[in-house]
């Protein structure tokens, strides 16, 4: 899973000599929060976020904050005066996992994606990663979530997947998570079917414990407290 498959390709950019209002209007109109600043050959030279814009403008509660003389004064400032120079960028070969980890580490909301020459090819934001996560969970397709508690030993997942596959049921996703009892794991298969009673009975007969998914969450919440 490379960022090149999940990024927004049609990047809305801005020129370093544009004024702040132009950037603000672009963001409002396109409903985005980051504008890469590009120079010659589409090379990235900076980035400006909605937070940079808001800090640069006077308080919106003040009368005439963006009209008349105030506006005239503000028009003298350009994007190059407020942009972040040399922003974090990532390459096309970055994976979604890389982007997630980097976002967590840097607390940056969007990364321009650039080629080897530093030319902008796309942008990946928290919004794109959320979409990718929804895709990984498979929850845009109709299905039913099961929760199976298994012993933590090799081969458990195979048995479950085989048993479900024999019933001609497709998987939307399978998540494996830690469970509070030592030596056990919780497996969450998301099955693309409404018809789960038969397979549930089958799994129980095979000796697995099927847990109501809420119980797992309740367990987790109480542990967190």
């Amino acid at each position: 899973m490379f960022v090149s498959q999940s990024m927004t390709r049609e990047v809305i950019t801005i020129n370093k000599d544009a004024d702040i209002f132009e950037a603000k209007d672009k963001m409002t109109k396109q409903r985005i929060r980051h504008l890469p600043v590009v120079g010659k050959d589409n090379r990235i030279i900076g980035i400006v976020s909605d937070r940079d814009i808001r800090s640069a403008l006077p308080c919106s509660l003040l009368k005439d904050y963006d009209t008349g003389k105030t506006r005239e004064k503000l028009l003298e400032f350009k994007i190059k005066d407020i942009m972040i120079i040399d922003p974090f960028t990532i390459s096309l070969s970055y994976t979604i996992q890389d982007a997630l980890m980097l976002m967590q580490k840097t607390r940056v909301g969007a990364f321009p994606v650039v080629d080897k020459q530093g030319r902008i090819k796309g942008i990946i934001s928290t919004r794109d990663l959320l979409r990718a996560f929804i895709n990984v969970l498979g929850i845009e397709e109709s299905g039913t979530l099961l929760c199976i508690i298994v012993e933590e030993k090799i081969g458990q997942l195979k048995k479950i997947v085989d048993a479900i596959t024999e019933e001609n049921i497709s998987f939307g996703s399978v998540l494996v998570a830690r469970y509070w009892d030592e030596g056990k794991k919780a497996v969450f298969p998301y099955l693309l079917t409404k018809k789960v009673s038969h397979v549930k009975t089958k799994l129980k007969k095979m000796g697995y414990t099927l847990l109501d998914p809420t119980e797992w969450y309740i367990d987790q919440t109480s542990q967190d407290k």
């Binding site: 929850i139 397709e141 039913t144 079917t193 409404k194 018809k195 789960v196 009673s197 998914p213």
Partner: protein
């Protein structure tokens, strides 16, 4: 006592879903025997099915979809659109009979020949989208019923109450932009149950915003949660909307003994729900209520649940 209609036809048993499928003809037999054994048949207005005119199916479904479905049946296909939708050569005709029977029932209600009715039909309908069969459903019975009420009987505002344990994604999507049809659904929370839609924040869109209302219920919850949601969500919504006719998507699969869900609604809980809906019909829609079967898979529980359902229609 109300004059209550009961739509049932043995041809509804012809839709054969094949092996290991919960949506079986025996469900309908169980419902029929529950009503018959309680000696209710003689006081009900019995309605037989007739095949629906395609023009009514087309008020909801794309013509291309209808043709695809018909051709799949003719070609002897065993499944249609999704592996859940197992079928047989009679499925298409049975689906037309389900809709036709419901439309005839609506005529009886609108001509004041009966006050309300329970339509024990197969296949069910609320998952069926405009152009996709899903979750054992082919034609969206209640959606076509709502359009029929509007086009044939000039009803302006239709209220749909869906208490099947699964969210009626099809019905919601068909009417999500339509402020003339209010869709209310109470169901197992979509993160824990099929089909994964019907979250609290799904409230319709465009001019239909605010005319879709979902009450997702977490697993293991039962009567008290259902009562709370009905009182807080549905009662207030219908007080404002004032439906001229109420259609019920009646699914009995939230029952504690039904293994299709993890919701623990009791037999009494189902009665409470139905009593409240019938009461609302009395207040807002001159008693006009058409209840249409969706799911419910416990062959052991269906007889008593259907019997209670019909008794409430008769006596409330």
């Amino acid at each position: 006592m109300n004059k209550t209609g009961f739509l049932y036809d043995e041809r509804y048993l012809l839709h054969d879903t094949g092996p290991y499928h919960p949506e079986v003809p025996a469900r309908l037999k169980a419902i029929y025997s529950g009503i018959k054994d309680a000696n209710l048949l003689s006081i009900l207005t019995l309605i037989k099915a007739s095949s629906a005119d395609l023009k009514w199916i087309e008020t909801v479904h794309e013509r291309d979809y209808i043709n695809r479905f018909k051709e799949a049946c003719l070609a002897g296909k065993k499944i249609f659109d999704s592996p859940d939708n197992q079928m047989c050569p009679e499925t298409y005709d049975t689906a037309l009979l389900a809709v036709g029977g419901i439309l005839d029932t609506i005529d009886l209600v609108m001509k004041n020949k009966i006050d309300n009715a329970f339509c024990a039909v197969r296949p069910p309908g609320h998952h069926a989208e405009i152009n996709k069969a899903m979750g054992f459903c082919y034609f969206n019975n209640v959606a076509i019923a709502a359009r029929y009420l509007q086009k044939e009987w000039d009803i302006k505002k239709v209220g749909i109450v869906d208490f099947d344990v699964h969210h009626g994604n099809g019905t919601q999507h068909i009417f999500e932009e339509d402020p003339s049809v209010f869709y209310y659904s109470i169901h197992q929370h979509p993160s824990f149950g099929y089909p994964g839609t019907g979250r609290e924040f799904e409230k319709g869109s465009g001019p239909g915003y605010g005319f879709t209302l979902n009450s997702p219920v977490l697993p293991v919850q039962g009567d008290s949660e259902y009562k709370k949601f009905f009182e807080n969500d549905l009662f207030a919504a219908f007080e404002t909307f004032k439906p001229e006719v109420i259609i019920v998507s009646a699914g009995f699969d939230a029952h504690i003994d039904d293994d299709m869900s993890d919701i623990s609604l009791s037999t009494e809980g189902f009665s409470w729900i139905m009593e409240k809906i019938v009461k609302m019909a009395g207040i807002y829609s001159n008693g006009r209520l058409i209840s249409v079967l969706e799911g419910g898979y416990s062959l052991k529980r269906l007889p008593e649940l259907a019997k209670n359902h019909v008794e409430i229609l008769l006596n409330s």
